[in-house]
C-alpha cells in the first residue's frame, strides 16, 4: 500500500527541527532512516499529519568514544555502527549483537537512534542498551534531558521520549576491562526480527562470576532483563552447571506472548538454550 498524505519538512539545522517538533507535537513524526516508519506508513498503521525529516541535519552521524563513553549520534546508520572499531572496543556486546540487526540495504539507511525510538519488542538494540546502562540524550525546543535505558523503554513501540523531543545521541558506558560478552538469536531468516534473542555479559573475579547482565528480546513488550538469572550467577563458579541454572531462571522470568511463528513454550525454550549458550561464550571471552 501507499502512505497517507502528510506535510513534509526537511529542516537544515537542529534548532529548526526542534522548533517544528514544538509546533506540531503529537501530529508530527520524526523521519530518520525510515526503515520502520515508512513500512508503518505504507501499511497505514500510522497517520501523522507532518513528517519532519532529520536526514539533512549536520553533525549527528558520529560514532566515537569520548570521556569513557561510546557516543552515537541520531544519524549514525546501522552500517556505520556495525563497521565501527569504536563499537568493538567500547561495547563488545553491541558488536556481538549488531550482525543480527536487519540486512544490508536496511542498514544503509536505518539508524541506531531510530531503532531505539521505535522499540520493537523483538529488536536487539533496546536489549543491548538495557544491559549496558545506556543513556538517551533527548533535546526539545525547551531544553535537554538524559533518560536511562531502564526508564526509556516503556512498552511495545513506545518510549519515554516526548512528542516534541529528539533523541540526539545515545551514550553507552565503556565495558569494564576483562568483561566477556555474547549475543545469540533465532529468527526466521538471517537479519529478520528475532523470535527470541539473548545477550549476556560476564566478568570473572577470583574464579567466580560477577556482575553478569542477561537481557532478552522477543519475549514481551520490550527488552527484558533477567535479574533472577543474574542473581543466580553471582559468585558461582563458571561452568555448565551454573549456566544451566541461570538459564532456567531466565526462562522462568519471562511471560512471553504467542504469535503465528512461536508460541510461549517455544519462546521459553529458546530463552533457556540461548541464555546457556550466551553465558558460556561470554565467560570464555573474559580476559
Amino acid at each position: 500500500m501507499k502512505p497517507p498524505p502528510f506535510d513534509y519538512h526537511c529542516p537544515e539545522t537542529l534548532d529548526e527541527a526542534l522548533a517544528l517538533l514544538a509546533e506540531h507535537g503529537e501530529a508530527a513524526k520524526v523521519l530518520a532512516g525510515g526503515q520502520s516508519l515508512v513500512p508503518m506508513l505504507n501499511l497505514r498503521a500510522v497517520h501523522p499529519e507532518v513528517l519532519i525529516d532529520i536526514n539533512r541535519l549536520p553533525g549527528l552521524d558520529h560514532v566515537r568514544i569520548e570521556d569513557g563513553e561510546l557516543r552515537i549520534g541520531a544519524l549514525a546508520r546501522h552500517r556505520a555502527v556495525l563497521e565501527s572499531p569504536a563499537v568493538r572496543e567500547a561495547s563488545p556486546l553491541m558488536a556481538a549483537a549488531y550482525p543480527y540487526v536487519s540486512h544490508g540495504p536496511i542498514r544503509n539507511r536505518g539508524t541506531l537512534c531510530g531503532n531505539l525510538c521505535h522499540n520493537d519488542p523483538a529488536s536487539e538494540m533496546p536489549a543491548v542498551a538495557l544491559a549496558s546502562d545506556a543513556e538517551m540524550m533527548l533535546q526539545s525546543a525547551s531544553g535537554a534531558r538524559t533518560v536511562g535505558a531502564e526508564e526509556f523503554f516503556t512498552g511495545t513501540l513506545s518510549t519515554a521520549a516526548g512528542a516534541d523531543e529528539l533523541l540526539v545521541e545515545v551514550r553507552v558506558p565503556q565495558a569494564p576491562a576483562g568483561q566477556g560478552a555474547a549475543f545469540h538469536e533465532v529468527s526466521p531468516r538471517k537479519g529478520d526480527f528475532a523470535y527470541v534473542a539473548v545477550g549476556a555479559v560476564v566478568s570473572l573475579s577470583g574464579g567466580a562470576c560477577s556482575g553478569a547482565r542477561i537481557v532478552c528480546a522477543g519475549v514481551g513488550d520490550g527488552p527484558h532483563r533477567a535479574r533472577a538469572a543474574e542473581d543466580a550467577l553471582e559468585g558461582a563458579a563458571p561452568g555448565e552447571g551454573a549456566f544451566r541454572q541461570a538459564a532456567a531462571a531466565a526462562a522462568d522470568s519471562i511471560d512471553p506472548g504467542e504469535d503465528f511463528h512461536a508460541d510461549a513454550d517455544y519462546r521459553r525454550d529458546l530463552v533457556r538454550s540461548l541464555t546457556r549458550r550466551a553465558l558460556a561464550d561470554a565467560a570464555s571471552r573474559c580476559h
Binding site: 497517507p4 502528510f6 525510515g34 526503515q35 505504507n42 525529516d53 540495504p105 536496511i106
Partner: protein, 161 residues
C-alpha cells in the same frame, strides 16, 4: 504542503526531474514519474528486496524512501546496468547460470549484487550469501543465483587485472 513538488536527481547518469507528492515512494516515482518500470515492487514494506536500487552508491529499498528524499541524489536502477547488446557481467552470468526464472526478483537481486561486487571485488561464497539474504526469490531456490554472482565476481576480477 502535501502538494506535489519537483524532484531533481540524476538517474543512471542522466539529469531527470518530475513532480512528486511528499508521500510518493521512490519506487513509484521511478516507475510512474520517470517511466523506469524495471524496478519491481513486491511487498512495499522492505522485506522482499524487489525494489532495491542504489542511491549515492548504496543499496536501498526504494519502497522505504520518499521520492522527495532523493532530491539531488544519484540513483542507479536496473535500466542503467546494461541492455541486450551490452550486458553487465552479472546479467550475463544470471543468464548463463539460470539465476532467474520468472524474473520478478531479478532487478533487486542484480542491484544488490552490483553493490557487493563493486565494494568487495572477489567476494566469496559467504559474502554473496549474506548480501542476497536480504532478497526473496520464490522460483530459483537461490543456489543458481549464488552461482551466478560467484561467476560474475570471477569474471569481473579477471577483467580488472
Amino acid at each position: 504542503m502535501t502538494t506535489p513538488r519537483t524532484v531533481e536527481l540524476v538517474v543512471n547518469g542522466e539529469r531527470r526531474a518530475a513532480d512528486a507528492e511528499p508521500r510518493t515512494l521512490l519506487s513509484d516515482f521511478l516507475r510512474e514519474g520517470l517511466g523506469l518500470t524495471g524496478t519491481h515492487v513486491g511487498c512495499e514494506h522492505g522485506v522482499c528486496g524487489a525494489c532495491t536500487v542504489l542511491v549515492d552508491g548504496q543499496s536501498v529499498r526504494s519502497c522505504l524512501m520518499l521520492a522527495v528524499q532523493a532530491e539531488g541524489s544519484e540513483v542507479r536502477t536496473i535500466e542503467g546496468l546494461g541492455g541486450a547488446d551490452d550486458m553487465h557481467p552479472l546479467q550475463e552470468a544470471f543468464w548463463e547460470k539460470h539465476g532467474l526464472q520468472c524474473g520478478f526478483c531479478t532487478p533487486g537481486m542484480l542491484m544488490t549484487a552490483v553493490e557487493l561486487l563493486e565494494s568487495t571485488p572477489g567476494a566469496g561464497m559467504d559474502e554473496i550469501r549474506e548480501a542476497i539474504s536480504s532478497n526473496l526469490c520464490r522460483c530459483t531456490g537461490y543456489q543458481t543465483i549464488v552461482e551466478a554472482v560467484q561467476a560474475a565476481a570471477e569474471r569481473m576480477q579477471g577483467e580488472g587485472q
